[in-house]
Structures are given as C-alpha cells and as structure tokens.
C-alpha cells in the first residue's frame, strides 16, 4: 500500500472516496441495465385477457423463489447448498449491527441485529457452503463445461467480502484499520462489478418472475 502512508489513511480512503466511487458506479450501472430492459417494452397484446396480471405476477415472484421439487430431486446438492449460502449471506449482510448502522445512515431504516457469535457462525457456514458450491462447479463435468471466467470472478467477488469481514471481525490482520479497510475494499469491488455481471440477477429476477406470472395470469394459466 505504497500510495497510503499508513493503515489509517487506507481506511479513510475506503470509507470516503473509495465508497463514493463504488456506490456511484453501482447505482449508475444498475439503473442503466434496468432502464434498458424496461424501456424496450413489450408488443401490445390485443387478445382478450382471461385473467389478471398483478396478482399472478407477484405470486410468481414468491413461488419461483421456493424450492421446486423436480429440481430438488434432480440436483439436491445445488438447491440445498444454494439456499444455505444465499440465506447465510443475507443474514451476514442484513443482521450484523455495524451493517444495520450503515443502512440506517444511508436509507434511514433500521431493525434489530443479532449477537455477534450468531453472525460469526452464519459467516462460517456461508463460506463453507460457497467453497462447496465452487468445488461442485469445478468438478461436475457439465457445470465445468458451462462455466465461464465470469462465473469464477463473481464467485470470488462474492466470497471476498465474507472472508475479509470474518478476518476483520476476528482481527486476524493487524492493525485493525487495515483489516476493516480491506473488508470495505472487497465490498467496493463487488459493488463496481455488480451491474455488469450476472450479479444483476438480484434485480432482474423480480422483473423476470413477475413477467412470467403476469403473462400466464393474463392467459388464465397457472404459473
């Protein structure tokens, strides 16, 4: 870190300029991607609707997020571990008090957090499940064939904030400002890359599932 005089300067940069750059790129990128999809629009449908759109649309957002029995039977490992790491990731992101402070400061909403040892366990489980899912991707012949460099990049950038957060929480790197600065930097990297990779699914899944449900609802078909 030659450009910084000391760990504290590094932390000051990641808490200030670094975060500003990252959040700006993240918001800019997400807006462009979502607007592009929305503005493209759909062809006018002149057929007579046989059902409503909003209800089935919203229902499908939920139903498609639940376990699908067929998929579970075919690839139980991916489904179970996939749920574990997503839920674990959100527990770490949304229920750790310092994170809630950040959300409260920027969005003005807050909720109670969990005790640190619970978060600690969640982070460990999440990281283990992510390692398992990576091992699966690298060993399963079909997954291996289908995986591109982007899949590995996205895995790495999602894994690093968990790892650096775990390291910072346990103060495994000294001095602490360096550990916290590294955690913020890995989050900032994730934010910067987010809009331009498959990580966009965090936003587009709602559009896609709503549209599927709405389209089927209009036709009077269950989705």
């Amino acid at each position: 870190m030659d450009i910084f005089n000391n760990a504290n300067d590094f932390l000051i940069w990641t808490r200030g300029t670094g975060f500003n750059i990252a959040i700006a790129i993240f918001i800019f990128g997400v807006l462009i991607r979502v607007l592009e999809i929305l503005l493209l629009g759909r062809k006018a449908d002149y057929s007579e609707p046989r059902g409503t759109q909003w209800g089935p649309g919203l229902k499908t957002i939920i139903s498609r997020s639940l376990v699908d029995k067929g998929t579970l039977n075919r690839s139980p490992f991916v489904v179970v571990v996939g749920y574990i790491w997503h839920i674990g990731f959100f527990i770490c992101l949304l229920l750790f008090v310092p994170h809630i402070e950040l959300i409260n400061a920027s969005l003005g909403i807050k909720w109670p957090g969990l005790p640190s040892p619970v978060l600690d366990a969640a982070a460990a489980v999440t990281m283990f499940s992510m390692l398992a899912i990576l091992w699966h991707r690298m060993t399963h012949p079909v997954m291996k064939f289908l995986s591109t460099y982007e899949d590995y990049l996205v895995w790495l950038l999602s894994f690093l904030p968990l790892l650096s957060g775990y390291i910072a929480y346990h103060r495994m790197i000294n001095p602490y400002p360096m550990a916290l600065g590294l955690h913020l930097l890995t989050v900032e990297l994730l934010l910067v890359v987010f809009p331009f990779t498959k990580l966009m699914h965090a936003f587009t899944l709602f559009l896609a599932r709503w549209y599927t449900g709405a389209m089927m609802g209009r036709k009077g078909v269950e989705s």
Binding site: A7, T17, F19, A24, F28, L39, P115, P175
Partner: protein
Amino acid sequence: MNRQTLLEMLQQQGVTRRGFLKYCTALTSLMALPPSMVSAVAEALETARRPSVIWLSFQECTGCTESLTRSYSPTIEGLIFDHISLDYHHTLQAASGTAAELAREQAMHENKGKYLVVVDGSIPLDNPGFSTIAGISNVAMLKETVANAVAVIAVGTCAAYGGLPHAAPNPTGAVSVSDLVPDKPLINVPGCPPVPSVITGVLAHFLTFGAIPELDELGRPKVFYGQSIHDRCYRRSFYDKGLFAESFDDEGAKKGWCLYRLGCKGPMTYNACATLKWNQETSWPVESGHGCLGCSEPNFWDAGSFYKALSIPDGDYARAAGYAVAAGVGIGAVAGLLNKNTKANAVAKHSSVSVDDFAVNKNNNNEGA
C-alpha cells in the same frame, strides 16, 4: 548532571524498598516481561542515573505537558518523571529568552550523545516563521537538538503523526517528528494527550534497559499500544451480545452498553486507556460514557465525525449517489430509446409473409417463434 541514583532519590522521598519492589513488579508486568525479570528491572532502576532530557514544544496545545504534570504527583511514576533532569522545557522552566536557550545548549554540550529529546507538537515546513522559539524555527531547533541525542520520544499525536495542525488542509505544512528524524531511535507515544503512565513507562523502560522498547509499525511501544481499546474494553461483552446505547441518555447508555453506534472508535484504536485508565486510574472516556475518539491513530482529525459509527462511510456519498442516479436515468433512457429504434428498424425490415408463402415452402415456418 546529578549523580544521584533513582533509588536514592526515591528513598529521600520516603518510598520504602518494599514499595519500590512492588512498583518494579507492576512495571515488569506492564512491560509484558516475564516475572523473572523483576529483579533485573529493580537492579537497573536502582542504579539508574538521572538522564538529561530536553523537551521541545512546537505546534501544540500544552495538553501533553498538562497530562504529565497534573495527573499524579504522589505515585512512583510521578517520581520517576521528577527524577529525570528536565534541562529544557520552555513551558515549565523558570528561565526565558537567552537564558533558556543557553540551558538547552549547555545540556546538549554536557551530555553529548547521551541525552533524550522529548518533542510535543508538529513542525511547520511551509514557512519556518509560522512557529519559532527565541527566533529559531521549529525545524532548525529540532534538527540541531536531535543531532547528538541518544533517542527521541515524540509525545502526543501532533509530534507522532502531525495531529491537529496536520489536519486537512494543513495550512502550515505541518509534519511529524518521524518525517524529519529518520536516522535516530524514535519512539512515538501518541494520544491527545497520551496516558501519563505510558509516557513514564517509556522513560522507565529506557532507564531500565538503556534502549527503546519494541515498537509497532507506527513506531509505538507494543507494550502500551499492542492491543485495541475494543479488545480491552469492559463494555465489549455488550458489543458481542448486540446491546448498544443509541443516544447518550437512553436506557442502554444508563446500563453501560456498548457505544459503537454512538461513534466509538475503540475497534480501530490502539492505546492503553482501557487498562491503565486516567486520573490515578479513576476512569477513562468510555467508562465516563463517551466513545473513544481514536486519538492515538494517525489523522484521527480527518477520519470523519466522532459521533458516526465506524461502519458508516464518511464521504459525501449521498451526493455521489445523486449524480449516479441522474447519469444512470439519463444514459439509461438514451440507451433504451436507441434500443427501441434498433428494434423498430428491424421490424420495418421484416418482409411480409402471406399464407401462400407457407403453401409454397413448408420448411420456412419458423417466423415469430
């Protein structure tokens, strides 16, 4: 230089041998040495001669000197401070002007290569006239004085890292002692002000071993700055349980819960406040209900609000987000319109297909799939 040893001086002050050994045991433990070292520490301190100390005060507020001189006169630490031969300290000495400067020059001459230099305050480089003593600029006086010193102790955050004068936009071009003294044994004792017993502890270490203690990457003695406030805080268990004070007078604050949400910088701050405490071990900032400011860390003045939690970004990120929303909506809309145009052109270029076409070529039926 007074030839009296430390033990003789302490005995004159009415300190018993038992009291002295108790102090040596505490000091040995404070310096994280094994118990077997107690006798060595006692022996070294018994025979320690008064070292000559030249204290230079530059761009500072005198808080560091206040910290040292006011807080504890009856303790052995205080007596150790009394024991050193403080040959020059322009706030404390009776002499002034030429006589004072003469005392400094005399101490430097008589104890060449043996005297300690203590500095508090930062040194302005933009214009030497910003801070002078007896017409001598701070930088000139520092360089002249440390030239033949055995070691330099930078007391306080200003001397250690530049401190408040160094805060953005640093109008005087203030720098730390380490920026100007690269080639001498240098101990940073930061804090705004530093814990008094840390200053005397460093002096005691020097008297005992004749060398500087083990330092961290910021030049601080590891024995005093090796652990963070957070790790040593008596409120730590509340942090781990997720119990936080959310204002300075809520139930949580009254119950002594963790002050993280109120901006405590304990997790990133390395100092001995939580163990050594202040005012004869009466209390310390967190115990009195206020979060740690992080005063022993570099650039703590520029590290954001004292009352903002450490996890909250410090820049004007709302403005950055505002620009991003404007740019995202603008460019996203343009991109959307361009895509629409592309789609319209593609649709316009489609050739129209009639039923007859299907009749003629049955394989060409995948339009609009």
